[in-house]
């Protein structure tokens, strides 16, 4: 059995359950004797809660109790991955539309819903709600967060959580033949995983078990242990494969609430959100970007100056990290002598934003790539050429402490060729091209255990969450090649902190590289043990035995690892257990705390046709090319890239929250908030990979999954601009927005 699995596309691990309905998602799990929870929310963003009368609700048959802030420890326990700012339940004041003020536990879903309707909340709508950046930064703005929660932050008396400043060189000292400047906006959009979020908890006497749709079970375990003052060993987190995550399920939300409710009830409780409720709990940060750049007359960048205000919502969640990571890479993959970057994390009375595929890069990339097109236009240069001219070359240091880790020019040229860059265009058609760059994980810690069982099958334990990216398949492929065990005979175990060793998290497209390395090392551990067993068995020197893809190469013959293991373990049987660890340490000198493990580099090119009468944009052709190092499973890589591209087309063409003046989301749910359906696809779509095996992961892989939505918007908008001549600075490019821009241009000329 030689290295056949890597680079092929075996059937997906967990695929059988997914096509038969047997896959158990969180909402499919029933715990004996469980109570159902329904949240009580107010139809207002910012309100003072005067009192909550639960008596009528609690007197309903089937209702066990109603939980409010008054039933929780005082002071209110708060949590968060960066700041301890999110309360278990609203405490005295609601800070966003949909923030729960009470939770009803009942014997049935019906009773819980009825109970929720009968909870009487006496509240008063508060003026001064902060729903946009301008209001947040006004000198007399209401403070969204209590300054006493802000520690010694110099910004504690403002709505700014932090201000990140990065850069190099002196932007004022650069000589430029052309300076361009503009402002762009990126709206709030939501993850819209088809599986709504869900949470369950059950007391175990001396501890607690928690079930969650979470992407980071070990982070949840840590947060719960701290909050409940339990040892980690007494907090068991079950994390069934999430039904889509996209970042929205990384960070705990209502797990602490259900945990406190389960402890109070002495019984399991379960809260499964509706899709509408999910809309009010997770979103991408909106952003306002001011950007300025200088160029020589030949098109070389002389400086870039980027200032981004991210409106992150009521609690910081992981958004401050979104701001720092995306700001650090704001200038993109270009060689620029001087750069100044400011990124602000600004709180508001809106849904807390969190990680969302691309982690801030789609917002900044939208502005940067649009501005580069403007420069090309003014310089009379080709938009592809200006990018190729400025693109950092392989191994070139382009950001302090980071170097280009791929042949990015090859990626861009491939995309240009695929879209037919430079070919004549029919009327009302246009093309756009854009490049995106995102840092992979800056730190990481993954452990894996692999068991080679006596019959020659294997079990892989990996704490990654498989939410559709296909991590199960990837890990099975790695183990298959290293141990010589067919993929179908490998089971991958995830999602239970009591069984599977620690993994930092499933984010930043890290798992194939970091956990993949841990799995590979666990297999190396097994290889070493079997080699030692074989040396004794066959009477040869251990050093004389080489290992090659599932086989021991003895001086006189080859023996499969599995065969050697069976001979050595006979007659009792048993197994060989290997452990692997992958650690990417912190680097205290790096502004982000660590270098990027790899970059996701992507070039997106689009061709559109615009209906000049209606403003409707038809995607004629859409191409994304990513530098993936090596495509470990080509089918899954394409599936990730296609999916990311379609998600990117969502925020480009149709997705955005619509607010009323009072900060209420007016288009909650699937009817009023549209995502792409099979009828909205580009007429032609291509996702391609550049494979030079130059990544840090097993076999030279890099992370994939986010690249194809990093710069969807600027590529499409550039195509619209070429087709129509109009520049649009706000998303999405709905027919109405395009039509209005066309009218304005007509009136202006």
């Amino acid at each position: 059995m030689s290295a056949q699995s890597v680079g092929s596309s075996p059937r997906r691990g967990g695929g059988y359950g997914r096509v038969t309905g047997h896959q158990e998602y969180l909402a499919d799990i029933k715990l004996p004797d469980m109570l159902h929870v329904k949240l009580v929310t107010l139809d207002v963003a910012r309100a003072r809660i005067n009192s909550i009368d639960v008596s009528e609700a609690e007197s309903l048959p089937g209702v066990a109790f109603v939980m409010t802030a008054a039933d929780l420890p005082d002071p209110m326990p708060r949590f968060g991955p960066q700041f301890q700012d999110r309360p278990v339940i609203a405490d005295g004041e609601t800070k966003y539309h949909g923030e729960p003020v009470a939770a009803v536990a009942a014997e049935t879903k019906d009773a819980a819903e009825e109970g929720a309707r009968r909870v009487k909340v006496d509240y008063e709508k508060l003026e001064g709600g902060i729903f946009n950046v301008t209001d947040a930064l006004a000198p007399d703005a209401v403070l969204v967060q209590d300054p006493s929660l802000r520690g010694d932050s110099p910004f504690a008396q403002t709505n700014v959580i932090d201000e990140k400043r990065f850069g190099w060189g002196d932007i004022e000292a650069q000589e430029s033949d052309l300076v361009v400047e503009d402002n762009f906006q990126f709206p709030m959009v939501t993850h819209f995983a088809i599986e709504p979020h869900g949470f369950m908890a059950a007391p175990t006497g001396d501890g607690i078990e928690i079930w969650s749709t979470i992407q980071h079970p070990y982070l949840l375990q840590k947060i719960m242990a701290k909050m409940l003052q339990l040892p980690l060993s007494k907090v068991r987190v079950h994390a069934p494969d999430p039904g889509g995550g996209f970042g929205g399920k990384q960070i705990p939300k209502f797990e602490p609430l259900v945990a406190f409710m389960a402890l109070r009830a002495g019984r399991p409780v379960r809260l499964v959100l509706t899709l509408d409720e999910t809309f009010q709990q997770v979103r991408r940060s909106s952003a306002e970007i001011r950007i300025r750049a200088g160029f020589t007359s030949e098109g070389a960048l002389t400086f870039m100056d980027v200032e981004t205000n991210f409106l992150v919502g009521a609690y910081v969640d992981i958004a401050d990290r979104v701001v720092s990571k995306s700001s650090y890479a704001a200038a993109g993959p270009y060689r620029i002598p001087a750069v100044k970057i400011i990124g602000r994390t600004i709180v508001s009375h809106t849904t807390p934003s969190t990680a969302f595929r691309g982690f801030g890069i789609p917002q900044i990339g939208w502005a940067r790539e649009s501005l580069i097109d403007e420069a090309a236009l003014q310089l009379g240069m080709d938009r592809l050429e200006i990018r190729l001219l400025n693109l950092a070359r392989y191994k070139e240091a382009f950001i302090p402490m980071e170097e280009a880790d791929g042949d990015w020019e090859q990626t861009v040229r491939t995309a240009a060729k695929r879209i037919g860059w430079g070919d004549p265009l029919p009327p009302n058609r246009g093309r756009g091209i854009a490049v995106g760059l995102k840092s992979g994980p800056t730190t990481g810690l993954s452990y894996s255990t692999v068991r080679l069982l006596y019959d020659g099958s294997a079990m892989v334990y990996a704490g990654t969450s498989d939410m559709g990216q296909g991590a199960r398949t990837i890990f099975a492929q790695i183990a298959s090649d290293e141990l010589g065990v067919p993929v179908e005979q490998i089971s991958v175990v995830m999602g239970d902190t009591a069984v599977v060793p620690y993994d930092q998290q499933t984010s930043a497209s890290r798992s194939s590289v970091l956990m993949g390395t841990a799995v590979q090392r666990a297999c190396f551990d097994i290889q070493g043990k079997v080699r030692a067993m074989a040396a004794e068995l066959y009477g040869v020197d251990e050093a004389a035995i080489k290992i090659d893809s599932g086989n021991l190469l003895l001086p006189d013959r080859d023996v499969a690892i599995v065969d050697a293991m069976q001979q050595a373990l006979a007659p009792l049987g048993g197994e060989v257990i290997g452990n692997g660890e992958m650690r990417k340490q912190k680097d205290p000198n790096h502004p982000l705390g660590g270098t990027a493990a790899f970059f996701e580099f992507n070039c997106t090119a689009s061709e559109v046709e615009v209906d000049m009468e209606t403003g409707h944009v038809t995607l004629v052709k859409h191409v994304t090319v990513g530098d993936v190092g090596r495509s470990l499973n080509p089918q899954q890589v394409t599936a990730q890239d296609d999916g990311a591209a379609i998600q990117g087309l969502g925020h480009t063409l149709m997705e955005h929250y619509i607010f009323d003046d009072e900060g209420r989301i007016r288009n909650i749910g699937a009817i009023d908030y549209r995502i792409l359906t099979s009828m909205d696809l580009p007429l032609e779509m291509h996702s391609e990979s550049i494979e030079n095996a130059d990544g840090p992961g097993p076999y030279g892989i890099k992370g994939v999954s986010e690249g194809s939505l990093l710069v969807t918007a600027p590529a499409v908008a550039a195509a619209v601009r070429e087709a129509t001549g109009v520049l649009i600075r706000d998303l999405p490019l709905t027919p109405q927005r395009v039509w209005e821009a066309l009218q304005e241009a007509k009136d202006g000329s």
């Binding site: 096509v19 088809i194 995550g245 099979s678």
Partner: protein, 158 residues
């Protein structure tokens, strides 16, 4: 307490007599009362298709049907697609094309596709896209799903 009615129905070939609350949807009853959790719940307003089942040959959003409406009718859910322990051609094609990513929309996609192929055994790309337009997927680019349906239509061997 909720008022209940007794209904007689056939689900995945098995005759059943069930007491259902008159205000419960078919989706509620499938998932909560008889533990057929393969059918998924997402939008509950008939927009996402995750809850699609086949009722007397027609694809229906089970979140929009009251359970009492299936009295005397025949229902097929995703759990009923396997025949004698073998995947249907569509299920196998979904696996081969890697059409299922997180998988949450897949039961609905499969039921719509099954109904489509029963009606139109040799659909064009456009007909597949139209037939599945009511089934949202947030993971995929729909292309693998479309490909899988076309492959199944062409008779991928069972």
């Amino acid at each position: 307490m909720n008022e209940t009615l007794t209904i007689r129905t056939t689900i995945n070939g098995r005759k059943r007599t069930i007491d259902v609350a008159v205000n419960h949807t078919l989706l509620d009853v499938l998932r909560d009362d008889i533990d057929l959790t393969g059918t998924k719940e997402c939008c509950v307003v008939g927009e996402c298709g995750a809850c699609t089942v086949i009722v007397d040959g027609r694809p229906m959003n089970s979140c929009l049907m009251l359970a009492v409406e299936i009295d005397g009718k025949e229902v097929t859910t995703v759990e009923g697609l396997e025949l004698d322990g073998e995947l249907s051609a569509l299920q196998a094609a979904f696996l081969d094309e890697s059409a299922a990513q997180c998988g949450f929309c897949i039961p609905g996609q499969l039921m719509s596709a099954t109904a489509l192929l029963a009606e139109n055994p040799d659909p064009s790309v456009e007909e597949v896209q139209e037939g599945l337009a009511g089934n949202l997927c947030r993971c995929a680019g729909y292309e693998q799903i479309t490909k899988a349906v076309l492959a199944a239509a062409k008779g991928v061997p069972r």
